[in-house]
């Protein structure tokens, strides 16, 4: 009972944080904060975003069920799609709060330093969530990877959205 409340309170807390950031007054300080964010802070934001979406979908049976039904080729395709969407969400699509790549920084630099590293963080969080909910117990490596990639898709979107919103 207490465990359930503790688990539920985590996404709720992030949700409250999101609401304050989105619905509250936009101060000049928060706008400035978005511009002058360090590399570590950007990665941390991605981790928070991945946790927020991940905690909502990881306990469901469907995530693991999907990974049973998908063959490795479709999972590789899903992995690549996650990477592309994560990158496009922040850089290509001109949304308010989207990061403008600073002049002189190439596509590969941004892709490797932010999207790829962010995706690895997302996968690590997915793995942690699956382990927390006991999905990795007695399960083979291939199946764990496959469940991680499937759960990684919503988490990657969450991570990219966190960079735009927060």
């Amino acid at each position: 009972m207490i465990g359930k409340i503790a688990l539920q309170s985590f996404p709720a807390a992030i949700g409250a944080m999101l609401a304050r950031d989105q619905l509250g007054e936009k101060s000049a300080e928060s706008m400035q904060r978005q511009d002058s964010m360090t590399y570590g802070q950007e990665l941390f934001l991605m981790a928070v975003g991945a946790l927020f979406l991940g905690l909502n979908v990881a306990p469901t049976e469907e995530m693991v069920l999907l990974s049973y039904m998908m063959d490795p080729w479709r999972e590789i395709a899903l992995l690549l799609l996650s990477l592309v969407l994560m990158h496009a969400f922040v850089y290509a699509v001109e949304l308010p709060g989207g990061s403008k790549p600073p002049g002189g920084v190439g596509f590969w630099s941004l892709f490797l330093r932010f999207t790829v590293v962010g995706y690895v963080i997302v996968l690590a969080i997915c793995l942690y969530l699956l382990w927390t909910f006991g999905r990795t117990d007695g399960t083979g490596l291939a199946e764990i990877i496959s469940a991680t990639v499937v759960l990684g898709f919503p988490c990657a979107i969450g991570a990219a959205a966190a960079r735009l919103i927060l």
Binding site: V116, A142, E143
Partner: protein
């Protein structure tokens, strides 16, 4: 009046001295913009990026070789080992481990346990597993009314469906 007028010019002078633009802020400003331009390419970030790219490449490579190995496997090689037998309120519980040694997933896997005495089946019970993923193990239990120690115990998988 005159004694008050006399000291007045002194603070004014000191005030103008204070408001005189110091040369430092201008230097600091240019310094900051230089560091801002320099931050995107720190060597540590590139090391992290390299490790990340390697990890994802390794994952894709593993999945490709797994995909090449998989085709056409049927979840036939299923091992069952008895872990322990305990007498409980409703009879005797046989706890067993079931292990999938193929790359296929078995859904609604049925396991049948029989107590035999020669050719005669004394008692038969069934257990069902929702999913048995590839190279994974699950635990289950069969509850017999008779004591399994007095008979020959046989546990076999009988059916499954493909998810």
């Amino acid at each position: 009046m005159t004694p008050q007028d006399a000291p007045a010019p002194r603070p004014k002078d000191s005030a103008t001295e204070r408001t005189r633009p110091p040369p430092q802020p201008a230097d600091r400003k240019t310094g900051r913009s230089e560091t801002e331009r320099a931050t995107p390419t720190s060597p540590l970030e590139w090391v992290v990026a390299g490790i990340g790219a390697l990890l994802i490449a390794a994952m894709i490579a593993y999945m490709v070789q797994y995909g090449l190995r998989e085709h056409g496997e049927v979840p036939g090689r299923i091992d069952i080992t008895v872990v322990e037998t305990q007498a409980s309120g409703h009879g005797h519980t046989v706890r067993f481990q079931i292990r999938n040694r193929t790359t296929a997933t078995a859904a609604t896997l049925r396991v049948r346990g029989e107590l035999r005495s020669g050719d005669r089946v004394v008692e038969a019970v069934e257990a069902e597993f929702d999913y048995l993923p590839p190279y994974s193990e699950r635990f289950g239990g069969l509850i017999f009314q008779q004591d399994p120690a007095r008979f020959e115990l046989r546990i076999i998988p009988t059916s499954y469906s493909e998810p």
